[in-house]
């Protein structure tokens, strides 16, 4: 299992050709109290860098982008009832969706944990 990060503050954890996607702890801290998360439908085709999900605080709505291309295999329905999971456990129970990768080579350009930390520290 390997975890990658994007400069749009998504994380993606890959196991074989499937992956789980969420937003980082830094992202949730910037957004503040999350009040709503819209996750993609199972079966949706996502493209690297394209809109995948939406996350909303009281005063802001942000798009969550697909770190890589693929088709959605599962969405985290728990976020509908408890969007606060994104605040309390962003990189665990607050995941957004899982997908089947269509092109694993797209992972190559992403950051690892150390690189992402350095990226956040530079902001």
């Amino acid at each position: 299992m390997t975890r990658y990060f994007t400069d749009e503050h998504e994380w993606i954890e890959v196991e074989g050709t499937t992956a789980t996607v969420g937003i980082t702890d830094y992202a949730q801290s910037q957004l503040g109290d999350i009040v709503f998360a819209e996750v993609p439908a199972v079966g949706a085709q996502l493209f690297k860098g394209g809109d995948a999900a939406v996350v909303e605080s009281v005063k802001a709505a942000s798009d969550v982008y697909a770190p890589v291309s693929g088709s959605v295999t599962e969405a985290n329905d728990a976020l509908a009832d408890d969007p606060a999971l994104v605040n309390s456990d962003p990189e665990g129970a607050g995941w957004f969706f899982k997908l089947e990768l269509s092109d694993p080579s797209e992972l190559d350009g992403l950051m690892d944990a150390a690189a992402y930390k350095a990226f956040v520290d530079s902001l």
């Binding site: 009040v35 709503f36 819209e38 605080s57 009281v58 005063k59 802001a60 709505a61």
Partner: protein, 456 residues
């Protein structure tokens, strides 16, 4: 000048604080060629309150006011009696001169009123939730079509031919720019559009839009249309232009409507020659995040006291910008307040009484008017508005009646210019303000007019 408190010495003192020699110095960023040196030429100078009032009085006298004549116009705007306390209350400065409640700690009056309004509208329409109001019924109708497109991700809307022609026109204007397809048909006095609607619904359909009662006043069960729409994953949008009707007939939500929109002018808001009115917008709870417009929600304050705020505002333009559900900014706050006060005064009991009285008066008028030779009733069913078929062009008749100081209805020729099959149709609305005497006056004037012959 009575509305400007600064004195010349104030102005001088303030310019000194600012460090400007004259007020012209404050406009130095205006390019030379666009600066005006004095008042715009050819326009009148300021006027006293008395002079302005006199000017308007003279113009107002040139209009025939509904209250002063036998009056039978409807077609999406209705004359009802508004209790005196409604207008008194909406003129309280704290309502009249408040802004949108963006600072909830000092806007609980407006917010609580909106919460009550939303609940009243949702209940009246038989829906789960309602918003804090839209501009008017016609724009609410288009917003509902747009919302159905977002929910179903489809672009084809089927509009009943019984939908108010102005509402159809508004949708046509918008659809031309958004690329939505509108499936339309010509209005037929002989039969309703239900069979075509049922036959047209398919898997491309985002929504079916049905007015209830329809433009001719006809009332039909929405259940079969809702069922067919839902079978194909489409939504049923119901448009109510006369909310008083729902004191007598089933709510659209009860029959399966997914979105119910309407014109709320009938309650609390005067005719005002067409505006401002108040758009009503309600829907099933599961669609709430796709709703346009402001929403008021309940919460608590730092001390745990119940309070209200505008909520789910991430749908709106000031946050979502080009991704907003609508570009709508304002609601129709003061008209919503008037609606809500009138509805609170009526209550369930009063609304039902009002509706019963409207229907009874309309039945009496229909019976009396169809006793005139050559005049027949188009409707099998109606609430407080029905369509007569005259033995003459109804537009001409309306003008002749107006010359006799009777405001006798809205001709279908005015609403549907150029449609020959409709030109003898006259839409007649009869509310609680119509007296026995008014009905008799209209009947006599109409009979005289028909005997005299029109268009000769």
């Amino acid at each position: 000048m009575r509305y400007l408190p600064l004195t010349d010495s104030d102005r001088q003192a303030m310019l000194a604080t600012i460090g400007a020699a004259s007020v012209d110095d404050l406009f130095i960023d205006v390019p030379e060629e666009a600066r005006l040196n004095g008042p715009i030429a050819g326009l009148p100078m300021h006027a006293s309150e008395m002079a302005v009032e006199r000017h308007f009085s003279a113009l107002a006298r040139k209009n025939m006011a509904a209250a002063h004549h036998p009056f039978f116009l409807g077609a999406g705007a209705y004359k009802h009696h508004v209790p005196a306390s409604v207008d008194h209350l909406i003129q309280r400065g704290e309502f009249l001169t408040a802004y949108t409640p963006y600072q909830p700690e000092i806007a609980q009056g407006t917010l609580q009123m909106l919460f009550e309004f939303q609940t009243q509208v949702a209940r009246l329409f038989g829906c789960d939730v309602a918003n804090a109001s839209m501009y008017d019924g016609s724009t609410a109708c288009w917003e509902a079509i747009g919302m159905a497109g977002r929910v179903t991700k489809r672009k084809k809307a089927i509009l009943s031919s019984g939908l108010h022609p102005h509402y159809v026109s508004v949708a046509q204007t918008m659809a031309r720019f958004t690329g939505d397809t509108l499936d339309l048909a010509a209005l037929d006095m002989a039969q309703s559009d239900t069979a075509r609607l049922l036959a047209s619904i398919d898997s491309e359909t985002s929504c079916v839009v049905v007015q209830y009662p329809d433009i001719l006043g006809r009332i039909e069960d929405l259940g079969p249309i809702a069922a067919k729409a839902h079978e194909h994953g489409a939504l049923l949008i119901t448009v109510v232009t006369e909310p008083v009707a729902l004191g007598a007939i089933k709510a659209p939500g009860e029959m399966g409507a997914d979105i119910v929109v309407g014109e709320g002018q009938s309650l609390g808001v005067g005719l005002q020659f067409g505006g401002p009115y108040v758009g009503l917008f309600a829907c099933k709870e599961k669609f709430v995040r796709q709703m346009p417009g402001r929403l008021c929600g309940e919460t608590v304050d730092a001390e745990g006291k119940r309070g209200f705020v505008l909520t789910l505002s991430t749908r709106e333009q000031h946050i979502r910008r080009e991704k907003a559900t609508s570009n709508i900014c304002t609601n129709s706050g003061l008209c919503a307040l008037a609606f809500s006060i009138h509805m609170s005064l009526l209550g369930e009991h009063g609304l039902r009484e009002l509706a019963a009285l409207n229907h009874a008066r309309a039945v009496q008028a229909a019976d009396r008017l169809t006793s005139i030779p050559g005049v027949s009733l188009v409707n099998d069913s109606f609430f407080n508005e029905f369509t007569l078929k005259l033995p003459a062009n109804a537009r001409d008749v309306v003008h002749r009646l107006a010359a006799k100081k009777v405001l006798g209805g809205v001709s279908l020729g005015r609403l549907y210019p150029g449609q020959a099959t409709l030109e003898n149709g006259l839409l007649v609305a009869v509310t609680e303000v119509v007296s026995d005497e008014d009905i008799e006056t209209l009947a006599v004037a109409l009979q005289e007019t028909l005997v005299e012959g029109v268009g000769a």
